[in-house]
């Protein structure tokens, strides 16, 4: 065997240093040259607002990892080749399957047969994906090796920010208690007691699932109140859109003008994006077909619905909910050049 090639996907975790160390150590000594392929797979593509800074972060991580490999391999006699690459710049990697496929393509192109996996591997902001990634790697038939690492136990970390945990449990407790009492009878002692017990169990077991982000003691209640203002606004929009669509459908000539549009929304991913995409779909006349993060592919049925969409009134309302009044002062998507009418075959 002339050369031993190893693929190491990197991400910004506490164990990435140890993973690189293990990748160097674990290589059998008899190989003449060792080829390390250090790659960072980006979950977003370059066109996204934050794409540029993510790519810079990735390159920094790669150059750090390169020097780690040189440092660890300096004692051995074998020649070390290091190649670095940023993967997934042109596509949007969504789940473990996309990552596994990307790694497999890269491995096939460079004749690599072994992959060293960081047990805490966590690209982008998505949740832990070790187990599903392992399963997908198995299904594409790429051999992998999990680096044995010491890591700080996870529950320790939770204790250290106990205030955050308390906030989540506190919020979860009152949400579930409130819901229980709405369904039950708030004046009946039995419901009060059982509700408290149920809400306690729910908050302990599910708080960290419900709130994947840290809560803001002042901000979160204010956001909830602003959401209360948003609902009537949304309902008015829905009624207006319903009337417009009904008129179009009932007219014998049925003057529809379906188009496929792409709108780059200026809202954070997660809850704000969900709220926006859901509201767009709820208003008849606009339908979110795809949400590749901030890039929404939206099907519009009539011209007036499309104009409303390009004016971005819903986007502004969602920004109001999450960022307050100053969040609404942005140009419309049309002025920003974030709108585009695309052909139907470009899905």
């Amino acid at each position: 065997m002339a050369a031993e090639r190893v693929l190491v996907p990197l991400s910004d975790t506490v164990t990435v240093r140890q993973t690189v160390g293990y990748a160097v150590q674990s290589c059998p000594g008899e190989a003449e040259t060792l080829e390390f392929h250090l790659v960072v797979a980006l979950p977003h593509d370059m066109e996204m607002p934050e794409g540029q800074s993510l790519t810079e972060d990735a390159e920094q991580l790669l150059s750090k990892a390169e020097s780690w490999v040189r440092e660890d391999a300096s004692s051995t006699a074998t020649t070390i080749d290091i190649e670095t690459a940023v993967l997934g710049e042109e596509e949007y990697l969504f789940g473990p399957r996309d990552y596994a496929r990307t790694f497999d393509t890269y491995a096939a192109a460079h004749d690599i047969d072994r992959l060293v996996l960081d047990p805490e591997y966590q690209p982008g902001t998505t949740a832990q994906m070790l187990q599903p990634l392992e399963r997908e790697l198995e299904s594409v038939g790429l051999a992998y090796d999990e680096a044995p690492v010491d890591r700080p136990a996870r529950h320790e970390r939770l204790v250290s920010d106990g205030a955050e945990r308390f906030d989540k449990m506190f919020a979860m407790f009152w949400i579930s208690y409130g819901f229980y009492l709405v369904l039950g009878d708030p004046t009946y002692w039995f419901d009060l007691v059982t509700g408290a017990a149920v809400a306690g169990i729910v908050s302990v077991s599910l708080a960290h699932v419900t709130f994947s982000f840290p809560l803001d003691r002042l901000g979160s209640p204010i956001r909830t109140l602003r959401f209360g203002l948003y609902v009537p606004y949304l309902i008015v929009e829905i009624v207006k859109a319903n009337l417009a669509i009904s008129v179009v459908i009932l007219r014998p000539s049925m003057p529809i003008a379906p188009t496929m549009t792409r709108v780059n929304a200026r809202v954070r991913s997660g809850l704000p994006l969900l709220a926006l995409a859901n509201s767009i779909t709820l208003t008849p006349g606009t339908l979110t077909v795809r949400a590749d993060d901030q890039r929404l592919l939206i099907h519009t049925l009539i011209p007036s619905a499309r104009e409303d969409l390009f004016e971005g009134s819903l986007e502004r309302a969602v920004r109001f909910v999450f960022h307050g009044r100053k969040g609404t002062r942005i140009p419309t998507p049309e002025e920003r050049g974030d709108t585009e009418i695309i052909g139907g075959d470009e899905l």
Binding site: V182, I245, I256, A257, T259, I280, L282, L287, T288
Partner: protein, 120 residues
């Protein structure tokens, strides 16, 4: 007097709810492809079910049951776009090309016969 008013309010709400559900059914038949049909299918859930549930809430007014109708509406509003999006997305993934203005500049759908052939 108040009772009379409430009765007629319920009737009017139910009537409009039925109207929008009817429009939605007509739309599903008349519109040309799966994407545009998904638009109008969501009308049933938003205004059709919305107004009917508002009527129910009004009819149950004195009961605490009315709050259930409001909750029901809340969940319909959350799940309806999810379903519409799932349909549209799976249509897009199975490669169904939406009809757009470019593809049917001169072929306006015939008002008397729903154009089933184009819907794939």
């Amino acid at each position: 007097m108040i009772e009379q008013l409430r009765f007629w309010a319920i009737v009017v709400l139910l009537g409009f709810g039925l109207f929008f559900t009817f429009v939605s059914a007509v739309g599903v038949i008349r519109l040309p492809d799966i994407y545009s049909r998904a638009h109008t299918a969501s009308q049933t859930d938003t205004l059709g079910a919305g107004l009917a549930l508002a009527a129910v809430a009004l009819a149950l007014g004195r009961d605490s049951m009315a709050i259930y109708a409001v909750l029901l509406l809340f969940f319909v509003f959350i799940t309806n776009p999810t379903a519409a999006h799932a349909i549209a997305r799976s249509a897009a993934e199975s490669g169904i090309v939406p009809l757009t203005d470019d593809t049917e500049v001169d072929v306006e759908p015939d008002p008397s016969t729903p154009d089933e052939g184009d819907s794939q």
